[in-house]
């Protein structure tokens, strides 16, 4: 059972570089999410998707873009990385929620440092 798989696990970028984080889930979940986790801040939602081909902004979407071309994959892109984007990024997925009652399943995270 792979569950939710994130690649890469670690990455160091220079300011201004671009990169894409990949999230893949094998649970046939409709909903997928990208969060960032910073010390003392908990998890903050960046973007989410309620189905293939659809995406929506979360709490902190600026500086990020996402795509959901296939149901099982959810990509998070940084077009021009900034030091403020140094964080641990988590992907999660869930079945369709009815009033948010479906638990989310998380990947192990991607540690990203921007120099």
């Amino acid at each position: 059972n792979a569950g939710v798989t994130q690649t890469p696990k670690f990455r160091v970028l220079k300011t201004g570089q671009s990169m894409t984080l990949l999230c893949a889930q094998d649970m046939n979940h409709e909903y997928m999410y990208w969060y960032r986790q910073d010390p003392g801040m908990g998890l903050r939602l960046i973007h989410y998707s309620v189905g293939e081909g659809t995406t929506a902004k979360g709490e902190v979407p600026d500086g990020y873009n996402v795509s959901r071309l296939k149901k099982q994959n959810f990509l998070l892109g940084l077009e021009s990385a900034a030091p403020s984007q140094t964080s641990v990024y988590f992907c999660a997925s869930s079945y369709p929620r009815v009033n948010s009652n479906q638990p989310q399943h998380f990947g192990d995270g991607t540690r990203l440092s921007i120099l």
């Binding site: 908990g42 988590f90 009033n99 948010s100 009652n101 998380f106 995270g109």
Partner: protein, 115 residues
């Protein structure tokens, strides 16, 4: 504004002692509440969830939580802590006003266990 609050940033307990981690939420309707645990370098694992019905819910690893509407609380408890319980614990709420159906996470409580 909706929020999920974990008042304690860091708690230390002795192995074998009882544990209670606090979580408070603010919003308008019946929420859906979750507790997750995060071990160092890992993603979040669901401990338990509350949707409706019995206000005392049992989870994995011997944890339980009680939903108290009058106190807007969903505190996590364990009667006897093991050294392996040392981790960070996150409370999360769904169905909160203004959340667009997404989960709102508390900022986490780090648990340390003394031998």
């Amino acid at each position: 504004a909706q929020s999920v609050t974990q008042p304690d940033i860091h708690i230390t307990v002795s192995e074998g002692a009882s544990l209670e981690l606090r979580c408070n939420y603010s919003y308008g309707a019946t929420p859906y509440l979750f507790w997750y645990v995060q071990s160092p370098g890992q993603g979040l694992q669901l401990l338990l969830k509350y949707f409706s019905g019995d206000t005392l819910v049992q989870g994995i690893k011997g944890f339980e939580a009680e939903f108290k509407r009058s106190q807007s609380s969903f505190n996590l408890r364990k009667p006897s802590v093991h050294w392996s319980d040392a981790a960070e614990y996150f409370c999360a709420g769904g169905g909160l006003r203004g959340s667009q159906g997404n989960l709102i996470f508390g900022k986490g409580t780090k648990l340390s266990v003394k031998p």
